[in-house]
């Protein structure tokens, strides 16, 4: 579904990406980890065509993102959801209007149905009661969750999350990962989750790719990664060796609760 081939990107004389190759199959969800400033956000922006590669290609569903234009690009983007690291909510609109916006502009649903969908989506991310606040009036974590609701409300086939849980407390963070997982089960989207939430995120992904020094340093299953002996990988998953035992014994780190329970907690 997503094929990244030899992606190279230079910023002001600094090569951030130096030949990244990565494939994500249809319905697969992978985690993308890596140090701060290693180019994870830049990589995601190439996948959606917001940035153009200096060399290499990004193929999404058989289409080359660097040459795709006009109607083809629009119709591909209609099937795609993107959670920006900073949220990128429209700050002149309320939370409700933000989440309703893609529905209003892209679908023919009537106001009643849109209202229902939006309230439902906001309840899922635990934002009931803040529908009519403006982005500047809610906390950073709430902005993140509102942005997540906006990205998920169109039921995308491809979902890219840029740090969905950063800035959230552990309880809400776990609930959000859980929400992403249940959405994946419902929609079976193809996804990339950029995250520092190691190893919690390992329970909901099929593979983990690690970006280091401008290339995909490791690309493996969570289990293999946990038992890796490579120093840089160990530094990342380091002290979580004991939780890998938990993982193998089948216990999920993200507690499975009903949605109502999560909302009570939030």
């Amino acid at each position: 579904m997503i094929t990244i081939d030899g992606l190279y990107k230079l910023f002001d004389g600094k090569d951030v990406l130096r030949g990244v190759s990565l494939g994500v199959k249809k319905g697969e969800v992978i985690a993308l980890i890596g140090g701060s400033g290693s180019g994870k956000s830049v990589l995601l922006k190439h996948v959606v065509g917001l940035m153009k590669p200096d060399r290499g290609r990004v193929i999404v569903d058989g289409m080359d993102m660097s040459t795709l234009r006009g109607r083809d690009l629009t119709s591909l983007r209609d099937r795609l959801g993107f959670l920006f690291q900073g949220g990128a909510l429209f700050d002149s609109m309320t939370v409700f209007e933000n989440v309703a916006f893609p529905l209003k502009e892209k679908t023919k649903l009537n106001d009643e149905l849109i209202r229902e969908r939006v309230f439902n989506e906001l309840e899922n991310v635990g934002l009931s009661g803040s529908e009519y606040k403006y982005p500047s009036q809610i906390s950073g974590g709430m902005v993140k969750r509102a942005a997540l609701a906006r990205a998920l409300v169109m039921d995308p086939e491809i979902m890219l999350f840029d740090e969905p849980t950063t800035g959230l407390d552990p309880v809400i963070g776990a609930a959000i990962l859980n929400l992403i997982d249940s959405c994946h089960k419902r929609l079976s989207f193809t996804g990339i989750i950029v995250t520092h939430e190691v190893p919690k995120v390992f329970d909901i992904v099929d593979r983990v790719a690690m970006l280091h020094e401008g290339i995909i340093w490791v690309d493996d299953t969570p289990e293999k990664l946990m038992s890796s002996s490579e120093p840089i990988v160990r530094a990342f998953v380091g002290e979580s060796a004991n939780s890998s035992i938990r993982h193998q014994s089948g216990n999920t780190v993200v507690p499975q609760r009903s949605q109502g329970e999560i909302n009570e907690k939030i």
């Binding site: 917001l50 119709s75 209609d78 909510l89 429209f90 700050d91 892209k106």
Partner: protein, 259 residues
């Protein structure tokens, strides 16, 4: 040798930016004629650019007319021709001062705000978010402004002219003693429809300049003009300076063409 190379590189950068700026205007015009039009946004921008500028236009127009009344009277009475105060005030306002001054006021009041708003949307990735939803940023952010300014600008200029003529009347007739019949009578016989059309053409083109420059500067904040809050403030300053200068340059070009 190095010197020439630098010169070449710098001119290439500016040439490229001019190209981008020209393309920006072409794209905006393209999306004006390609539906769907975001009608509620057009109304919102008419309210912002047009309606909310009226008070500042009335105020400056009134004072401009009053100053013209004074200056015109003293100049003309030296030649004993103060009877022509009406045409003098009317023609200067309708052909020059009305379009130019109201365009400068709109640049300062609405243009700067438009640059800042679009610039902030750009640096906080809201423009990217719009694009990723498969929605065209030109259609949502630029076109409504262009349509709104094309509707508002001639009306604001007309208001400026009318209140200016009344200001001139107040000074010339009420204060300095020119007769009301002479003031308006001579004005009516010397001001042609052609003069009024000239004013309208000017105000329309100034409006397009304002939106073109201000939206362009906002849209390319963080790409051509620095990052963050400083980038937005730079873009805003540049937008105001550039559109003011372009308005005066274009005014010269139009005047010499229409003369």
């Amino acid at each position: 040798m190095n010197y020439i190379r630098t010169l070449g590189a710098v001119s290439l950068v500016y040439l490229r930016r001019m190209g981008v700026m020209g393309l920006f205007l072409l794209k905006t015009f393209f999306y004006v004629f390609v539906p769907p039009l975001k009608f509620t946004r057009v109304l919102k921008q008419i309210r912002f650019i047009g309606l909310q500028s009226t008070s500042v236009i009335l105020l400056t127009g009134g004072f401009a007319g009053m100053v013209l009344g004074f200056q015109g009277f003293y100049s003309l009475s030296r030649f004993g021709s103060d009877a022509f105060l009406g045409p003098m005030v009317g023609l200067s306002l309708i052909k020059e001062l009305g379009p130019v001054l109201s365009a400068l006021m709109v640049t300062g009041r609405a243009g700067s705000a438009i640059t800042a708003e679009i610039g902030i949307m750009r640096i906080s990735e809201q423009v990217d978010a719009l694009e990723l939803m498969g929605l065209n940023p030109y259609r949502y952010l630029i076109v409504p402004n262009l349509i709104a300014v094309v509707i508002s600008m001639p009306l604001l200029t007309a208001m400026f002219d009318v209140i200016g003529i009344l200001g001139g009347y107040l000074i010339g007739v009420k204060l300095l003693g020119v007769s009301a019949g002479t003031y308006f009578g001579e004005m009516a016989s010397y001001v042609d429809m052609k003069d009024i059309m000239e004013g309208i053409y000017k105000s329309l083109s100034f409006g397009v300049i304002i939106i073109w420059v201000c939206c362009y500067k906002g849209f390319y904040t963080g790409i051509f003009t620095g990052f963050g809050a400083e980038g937005v403030s730079k873009a805003t300053t540049q937008a105001v300076v550039m559109s003011s200068v372009l308005i005066l340059l274009w005014d010269y070009v139009m005047t010499s063409l229409l003369f």
